[in-house]
């Protein structure tokens, strides 16, 4: 390397260092750990708001109603953690989340880890922005679940049967990638997925305790529904310019049904609406 090239690289490093210094100086990283002891197992409603970073939700075996561990930049975010003991309503997460270009990598973004009680039935409302979320609701007693997500990469899973019957499982996505694993374990009769642009993968595996009504509305994107082979499927589709992969389904009365529809112990009724999307039903029983 000649002297000119060396000088160029020194300059490049100096510029990069100044960029890093300027962004680092504008931050104020803090950690906040909040929890509340569990007094009884009365139902509670939990509203989680988180705009940017990574979020994880899971159950805790400790005698706590909730436990949040938050790492945040105080110049951009304001934590929120209020619990109304009378109404049994918890509002938790980050109140203000200013999006600012800093050149940081994702690993430097904020992080929220929320643990919730296994004992109390929860009405769970997750309002997520541009976040990477891992929602492992295994072991929780969820009576209602709403996941609203902007531009994010979200994963939702129920590895064991939800001991509370869920009245509604609602997933509302903007431009996002969403994957739901073993959703039959959610124990919900009514499942609604509303997606703008993105890729949605719904695994309806798990323990079936009832028939499920699944409503899917996607504008532009791909929805893949994995259904166990012993479950009967009926798909009613409204599509404008969209494709539908219906391998193993036969057309009957204006809908597509699986061959075991009449004999199946449990049934999945899919009502789908798509404009520029693609709906695929996979019955390989993954």
């Amino acid at each position: 390397m000649n002297s000119r090239a060396r000088r160029f690289f020194v300059f490049a490093h100096a510029a990069a260092a100044s960029l890093a210094a300027s962004t680092a100086a504008a931050q104020s990283w803090r950690t906040l750990d909040v929890a509340r002891q569990l007094k009884d197992s009365s139902p509670a409603s939990v509203q989680v708001v988180y705009g940017m970073g990574k979020i994880g939700v899971r159950a805790t075996s400790n005698p706590l109603l909730y436990h949040m561990q938050l790492r945040y930049d105080a110049t951009r975010a304001l934590p929120k953690h209020t619990f109304d003991a009378t109404a049994r309503k918890l509002q938790i997460g980050v109140q203000k989340s200013e999006v600012r270009f800093t050149g940081r990598s994702d690993s430097d973004a904020g992080h929220l880890q929320l643990e919730l009680s296994k004992s109390a039935p929860l009405d769970l409302d997750l309002d997520l922005g541009a976040v990477e979320s891992d929602l492992d609701l295994t072991g929780l007693r969820v009576s209602r679940l709403r996941v609203g997500s902007g531009a994010s990469d979200a994963k939702l899973r129920f590895d064991s049967l939800n001991s509370a019957r869920m009245s509604l499982l609602e997933i509302s996505l903007g431009a996002a990638s969403f994957r739901g694993d073993r959703l039959a374990n959610a124990n919900a009769q009514d499942v609604r997925v509303d997606a703008g642009v993105g890729e949605v993968e719904l695994d309806m595996g798990g323990q079936w305790t009832q028939d499920i009504e699944l409503k899917v509305d996607i504008t532009l994107g791909v929805v893949t529904i994995h259904v166990p082979s012993d479950v009967g499927v009926r798909v009613s589709l409204q599509k404008t310019v969209a494709s539908f992969e219906h391998e193993g389904l036969i057309e009957r009365d204006g809908a597509w049904v699986s061959r075991n529809w009449d004999s199946a112990p449990h049934k999945l009724r899919v009502t789908a609406k798509t404009v520029f999307g693609k709906l695929a039903i996979d019955r390989t029983g993954r």
Partner: protein, 401 residues
Amino acid sequence: MRTAILPLILAVAVGPLMARQAAAIQQRPTAEKQPAAESAGKSTAPARAVEASDSVKVQLSKVAIDSLTELVNRFRRDPEAVKLPPTDQIAMGGRSIPAGTEVAGPVVAAGGPLHVFGTVNGDAIAVGSDVIVHPGARITGNAVAALGAVTLLGGTVNGEIRQLGGALGAVPAAAEVAESPARSTRHALALSSSWLIILVLMAIGVLLFAGDYLDGVVDSLEGRFGRSFWAGIATQLALAPVLALLIVALAVTILGILLIPFAIVAFVLAVVGLITLGFLAIARITGESVAPAASKRYSARGAALRALVVGVSIYMGLWVLASAFAWAPIVETVLRGVAVAITWVATTAGLGAAILSRGGTRRSAPTVPLPAVNDIPWQTPTPVAGVVAARRPTPSSSAKR
């Protein structure tokens, strides 16, 4: 932050109340309860009097107390702080609430642990240390530890258990951050320098992988600068209508609707590519004219790279210069205006040249080297030889042939 707190804690002259000492207190609650009850009448705050004799008085140096006071004051300014009593009511070095006693909160300890064996009616707070809730203890409010931990060994906390870590104190407002001249200058410099580096790297990439196209645009610019500039302006004016036409054309065909998003992305990429190619071409010409390379010293590619780096540095240097005056808004505005104007002219001409040369694929007609004309046979013929005079070829007629 924790490392900053460590010397502070070490500065405590006499060690804070340790867990073992607290356990010792816990073992003889009845013995200590009696004097506490006796002292109740002497105090204006009965609850404090009850526990006052049960606390181990810790002697701290003045430096340590000052440091702890500063830490407490920072905590007061923290958005996550709870309401604290006056500093003289804060137990510096640690405190213990014995079993069987009941004190009114908030109870605050700084620089040493707050052991709770009894009942705190309100918040229990530790600054720079831990709150330890022992079996049988009860806190009716919150248990808060700033730069420490809340340890539950049993007992109950009716409120929230809260631990604060990292930076402590008031959060600088975003507006304050933005208004700092040094910060804004540093930020602007970093941004413009980053763009300079990105453009130099792009120039190297274009030279390596699309050198021929760059040469084509450079040829077009050198031959027809004025025409390139006007073509650039026409292109800028036509961009939006062309995109609209493209979308309408695709929408007319039903299948084409699906291609609209891709067409928009492709259109934007194509325009950005042409602008970049044109800008780099004009940067190269500028670099060649400002700092011509000695022909023997550099290879053709080396000379082109040198010219590109010099040219890009000149154009982006204007932006860096403007950024360096971010602390002086008027100067910065003037310099930025100059940078905008010069960059716009360069980019417009470059874009026009890129369009005229079809992205560098069409070169200007090469200049045909004129054949050397041997004048000797075309001397005026002599009448002796009787040769018929013929038209003497001119360079232009030779080129036509």
